[in-house]
């Protein structure tokens, strides 16, 4: 504004006042810009951190999503596979007897030297003469079992030649991927020079290719055959725990939230419950582990390492989250909806279950998903209830022993074959993060839809 205008304003005091204010304006606007800049910087930093974390995990993990795979034509040579025909069910045997006979046949299979079949096949493609020991260095220990189960499922293969994909051993994989320094002297290498040369040769001939590691999702954990270790068991364990959490935590959580928010009289006791629930939400997860070990395992004698116990512990951990979120959602329902129902002569229970609850459904769902996702990623309490176990089978029920995905990550990151398992751990993390992201994305999707509607 110009001075002429100032004069029009007339009042001397007013002019002086304006001058004072103007004098400081540029400083104030600078402060404003700095403050806003700090805000932007904080956001950028936070986003950068998310980015770095994901980039790190993905760049480390992707290599192990691909693994050196050996493509061989395996001949089930009857001279090596010396077993009789498989027994048949029925045929006058009682179930117990049939089982016994079948077991005998499988025992015979277990004694077959499957590695010799592999050695033969490798000799056929490379012309190199190798023995059983070399095969073990070259091919994952699991390979023999793969042949065996292939044959067990289909005994007619005897004498036939079939193409099969076998995994290269973990050390072989390291060598081919270069995760171990290829220039190191012999005595510091895990593999003999011959084996290394053979690997390079097979790779050059495309007998070995880098294939997508499907077995990471279909196999269970393995120590003897690290290259074939997979997440199937841990995944099922986590799945069971999630189901238990959903089945228990949601109804109980929602019910207690309803009681506390809608029915409970305002008194000391409900105050206490409220403090208690808020506190439970913040109690370190490890303490829940101690509780689980003491109550579920020692007192109720539930099985160790079972997803059931894990699920129960995680349920107790998730409950407060769900209760608090549900209460917030109930609180947010407009009083006018409640009045409308009550005014029509609905009872309080009818009002809550027929009107209030349906409206809060999306928020409860969101809270549930987030709570379950948190539970899914929890590790510490599981260590104390024996879920940090080596389990080489897929649990068939929540009562069977199992691990969970995050625990598997923990176990793998401590594996001594670091060259191999560091990437493996990252791959497991990718899977775990993928699950988390999907769950969170669903939650966020629901919430934004809810916000838009509300």
């Amino acid at each position: 504004m110009t001075d002429i205008n100032m004069q029009q304003t007339g009042s001397e005091a007013s002019r002086k006042r304006l001058e004072i204010i103007r004098a400081s304006l540029s400083r104030r606007h600078r402060a404003e810009a700095i403050f806003k800049g700090l805000g932007i910087a904080a956001i950028v930093l936070a986003l950068a951190l998310v980015g770095t974390l994901f980039w790190q995990v993905f760049s480390k993990g992707t290599p192990s999503l691909f693994q050196s795979t050996l493509h061989l034509d395996i001949t089930f040579d009857p001279e090596v596979v010396e077993v009789g025909p498989a027994p048949e069910a029925g045929s006058g045997l009682s179930p117990a007897e049939y089982e016994e006979a079948y077991l005998d046949w499988r025992r015979a299979l277990a004694l077959v030297n499957w590695n010799e079949l592999i050695a033969n096949a490798i000799r056929d493609v490379s012309g190199t003469e190798i023995d059983g020991g070399d095969v073990r260095a070259l091919v994952d220990n699991n390979a023999g079992l793969v042949l065996r189960s292939r044959f067990q499922d289909n005994p007619d293969l005897l004498g036939q030649t079939v193409p099969m994909d076998l995994l290269v051993s973990a050390n072989g994989d390291n060598w081919l991927k270069g995760t171990i320094d290829r220039d190191l002297p012999d005595e510091r290498q895990q593999l003999s020079a011959d084996t290394r040369n053979l690997l390079d040769e097979l790779r050059a001939d495309d007998v070995i290719t880098m294939d997508f590691a499907w077995h990471l999702f279909t196999n269970v954990d393995s120590r003897t055959a690290p290259a074939s270790a997979g997440l199937a068991g841990a995944f099922m364990g986590s799945l069971y725990m999630m189901l238990i959490v959903i089945v228990l935590a949601v109804p109980i959580g929602v019910a207690s939230a309803i009681y506390l928010e809608e029915f409970a009289p305002q008194n000391r006791i409900t105050d206490l419950i409220e403090v208690n629930i808020n506190n439970l939400a913040a109690v370190p997860s490890i303490v829940f582990g101690l509780l689980g070990a003491a109550v579920f395992i020692n007192y109720f004698h539930l099985p160790i390492s079972a997803p059931l116990v894990g699920g129960l512990v995680l349920t107790l951990m998730t409950l407060p989250t769900i209760i608090i979120a549900t209460r917030a959602a109930l609180k947010a329902v407009s009083p006018s909806l409640r009045q409308a129902a009550l005014g029509l002569g609905a009872s309080k229970t009818q009002m809550v279950f027929q009107h209030v609850l349906p409206v809060t459904f999306p928020s409860i769902l969101t809270a549930t998903i987030i709570g379950v996702a948190q539970a899914l990623g929890e590790t510490a309490p599981l260590l104390l209830i024996g879920m940090n176990a080596f389990v080489a089978s897929v649990p068939a029920s929540p009562l069977d022993q199992a691990t969970a995905l995050p625990v598997q990550v923990y176990l793998w990151q401590g594996n001594e074959n670091r060259n191999f398992f560091e990437a493996r751990t990252s791959a497991a993390i990718i899977v775990l993060l993928g699950l988390m992201l999907v769950l969170n994305a669903i939650a966020i999707f629901l919430r934004t839809r809810l916000e838009r509607r509300g």
Partner: protein, 459 residues
Amino acid sequence: MNSLVVAAVLLVLLGLAYQVGWSRSRTVAVGADRRLHSRPAYHGTLAAIWVLVPVALVLGLWALFGPGVTDSYIRSQIPADVAASLEPAQLNNAMARIRSIASGYGVLGEPQPFENQAGQALRQFQLISFLIVIAAAAGLGVLALFAARRRITPALRARNQVEAVVNALLVACSAVAILTTIGIVVSLLFEAIRFFTFISPVDFFFGTVWNPRFSTTGTGGEGDYGLIPLLWGTVMVAFIAMFVAVPVGLMSAIYLSQYAHPRLRSTVKPIIEVLAGIPTIVYGFFALVTVGPFLSGIGNAVGLDIRATSAATAGLVMGIMIIPFISSLSDDILRQVPKSLRDGSLGLGATRSETIRKVILPAALPGIVGAFLLAISRAIGETMIVVLAAGNSPILRLNPFEPTSTVTVTIVNQLTGDTDFAGPQSLVAFALGLTLFAMTLVLNVAALLIVRRFREQYE
């Protein structure tokens, strides 16, 4: 199979009861002045509840005592002389074989005559007892149904009664949370007391050296169990975490709630919240593999001795983990500050940052402090990051670039180590757990009190 039958019987009974209650209520309601107090559906539900209770009682009792009864029956079927000659384990084995025979599956090898006999007897016993139980349950259910049916009058307040049952169920569900707390306290207290029979509480709470020993080495003493170094480590890591998380989290919350365009907000907020969904084990791995070496690299570059696994590493990564926690909570709280306050300040000619710093933040402060306290309690309770990244060195040190250890990590270490499980070496974990519980309790009550006062301020 059996459980299927039971479930089917139960379902049929309940369905029947519901139907009876429903139609009976409609029949009695005929007539001018006989308006039903409650809808027929409530009468049906009430009848079903009446039936469910006795049936569930019978089945529950059988589930509880049935196996014991069957066991003693099998034992009674094994000839006394045979039974006497068997070791307990063998006896169990024999009983399992008998069960197997009774199930019709057969056993390997030639069953002994007494096994065969017992198997047949058991088969009959199982059938009969099963029938009896089912009959008893069903009979009681039907009786209850009749009783319920007779109670049905137009004036019967079936709705109120059903609602009372629902209410009771709700109360039972809320009790779970209380039971959990009781469970925690009792299970920790018990073992912690045992620990204190070895080590005096004074030495534990005020000791400055953490050095538990194997009882066979050294002087045969138990070692030192001073809590202070662990507590110090915990506090230091939590402090570093807050030091990282508070500025970043709070400033992002401020930007998102006060400056950002809604569209920006709705994209950025979920991305930051992704950080909250990442399992802590992943953070731990991130710290161990990326952040630690990175920090120590920086240290080398500037000539500072920074350990890869240190309080700083753990704190930094934990801070990243807590960022979304703080930014989300603060964002909510900042948005709760009435718009009228903001308008009031802007209307006086304040700039936005002045408004935020001088009006909105002070108004939201109690709530934000509450959020901070919750975040601290989360930092204190965090385990996996510290397990992997703090270096597990329970020594009282001021330098944050040195390894340290925390209460949670020590719990894991002491419980999963090679120490004597009956000795203080592993019992200490429970005392530590109790300490941790008490700490979070105090923090939470503080947070709650602060948040409550905050709520009052606007209303």
